[in-house]
């Protein structure tokens, strides 16, 4: 069914465009996003942030309606700060994921139009990734998760190129290539990309040089 409110697109989740992937490696995890902000066909910005640092070992990537991407990340920052002060410790990735599913489901009948992705290292520095739909249905995998307007492309690329226990540098290469190739075949994603690799000693962030179209 063609949407009358948003002609040319099929869903509110596609209005602004975007792509996120998260991939596990050996004691490390990569999270990569494009940086396009569009309004249907028109590109409005090429430096739009879609991945947010929650703490040194936890990052959140969000695709979907841009306003909800920002609101959700701000809301989670609020909840995370309260958690840190009350519990006097950092939140675990699994717990954060659970909190996020809760926040999304609270809005079951008027949801945030976002499909977030959580990537982090737990206390034993084991990698953790999870993804959710807009209502908060989570998916936990041991390899990778994807989200956005070109998930079919992303799934194909990741499934082909992924191998377990990659070191940070190889993980970075793999994640970057998967993302770049996927967004190049999607009109609504691309226009720049950023990749973060979280390791026990720190996070390495790099901007990718991709097709600016």
């Amino acid at each position: 069914p063609i949407s009358q409110e948003f002609p040319g697109t099929m869903s509110i989740l596609e209005y602004n465009g975007g792509a996120v992937l998260a991939m596990t490696g050996k004691n490390c995890v990569a999270i990569a996003t494009d940086t396009r902000l569009g309004m249907q066909a028109q590109t409005v910005a090429c430096d739009f942030q879609k991945v947010f640092k929650m703490n040194d070992k936890l990052m959140l990537g969000v695709t979907g309606l841009a306003t909800d991407v920002q609101t959700l990340s701000q809301l989670l920052k609020f909840r995370l700060n309260m958690y840190r002060m009350r519990e006097e410790r950092e939140i675990k990735p699994e717990t954060f994921s659970a909190l996020l599913t809760h926040i999304l489901y609270e809005r079951r009948f008027g949801p945030y139009f976002t499909e977030p992705v959580v990537a982090g290292l737990n206390e034993k520095n084991e990698p953790f990734v999870s993804a959710m739909d807009l209502l908060g249905a989570p998916v936990f995998t041991s390899d990778f998760v994807v989200s956005g307007t070109c998930t079919s492309n992303l799934y194909g690329m990741c499934e082909t190129m992924y191998k377990p226990n990659m070191e940070p540098d190889e993980l970075f290469e793999t994640a970057s290539q998967c993302l770049l190739a996927s967004v190049d075949r999607d009109a609504l994603s691309g226009w720049g990309a950023v990749v973060h690799v979280i390791t026990p000693t720190g996070t390495i962030s790099r901007k990718l040089k991709g097709r600016q179209d």
């Binding site: 701000q74 809301l75 920052k77 609020f78 700060n81 309260m82 002060m85 009350r86 006097e88």
Partner: protein, 249 residues
């Protein structure tokens, strides 16, 4: 006797006093002392831990100091249970401010928020006031380092150095004589120890009875540090040797 005006928290006495509020302030004057000192490069907060028993499990964080946000911390004197409610209110208010304005809540506004909440218990509802006094220490880009004191009435005031809880008058008089606003955090720490030594029951201060928190800026971030035991002991020793040699002159 003004007895009949005591029970209702929200009624004035004929002399124009709110007795319940005054009794709440009394409750605080029996609680462990807390000191706050503004230095030129930071703020020092110190507190006397009161419940000391060998059987008590050590608290995970702190007994008197509570972080309210990255740029604001507090020390409490009075009923800890009441304090917990107010601390939570302050923390949520700080986060709600960041959520709305995407910038940290100015210190005075946070103090005002807590104080207005305390004040409402002296005017509505028929509930007793909170038996807590706070020392708020924080930094913001508008007014730099600030120190505020608030009491159960909901009043607050800004201070360069002050003291609440047991023997606070003795503490305040020492501060009046010895406070110097040009000193740095290290000197302020020593002064805080001196104040607590004067106000405490026991003749000798020790690291397990005292807590210290220092708020400073490092780059563009605020850093709050609760001093570890050995550092506290070291400072106490320095203060004691200085005091001993003072008497020799």
């Amino acid at each position: 006797m003004a007895r009949r005006y005591d029970s209702s928290t929200t009624t004035f006495s004929p002399e124009g006093r709110l007795h319940q509020v005054e009794y709440a302030i009394e409750a605080i004057n029996n609680a462990g002392t807390a000191v706050g000192i503004l230095a030129k490069d930071g703020i020092v907060l110190a507190g006397e831990k009161q419940k000391l028993s060998g059987l008590l499990a050590p608290p995970k964080g702190s007994e008197k100091m509570y972080k309210l946000d990255e740029h604001v911390t507090s020390v409490v004197a009075g009923l800890t249970a009441d304090a917990n409610i107010l601390i939570n209110t302050a923390r949520v208010a700080a986060q709600r401010y960041i959520y709305t304005y995407q910038e940290p809540m100015p210190v005075e506004q946070m103090v005002k928020r807590v104080c207005n909440y305390k004040q409402s218990y002296t005017q509505f509802g028929g509930l007793r006031p909170f038996g807590v006094a706070f020392l708020f220490a924080g930094w913001d880009e508008h007014y730099g380092y600030q120190l505020y004191m608030s009491d159960p009435s909901g009043n607050y005031s800004g201070w360069k150095a002050t003291c609440i809880g047991q023997n606070n008058q003795a503490g305040k008089s020492l501060l009046k004589n010895e406070y110097d606003e040009s000193v740095g955090v290290d000197e302020a720490l020593k002064l805080a120890v001196k104040v607590l030594v004067k106000t405490m029951d026991a003749t000798s201060a020790s690291a397990d009875k005292l807590e210290f928190c220092v708020l400073t800026r490092e780059g563009d971030k605020c850093v709050q540090r609760i001093l570890p035991g050995q550092e506290v002991t070291q400072i106490i020793d320095e203060v004691n040797t200085a005091a001993a040699s003072e008497g020799d002159e």
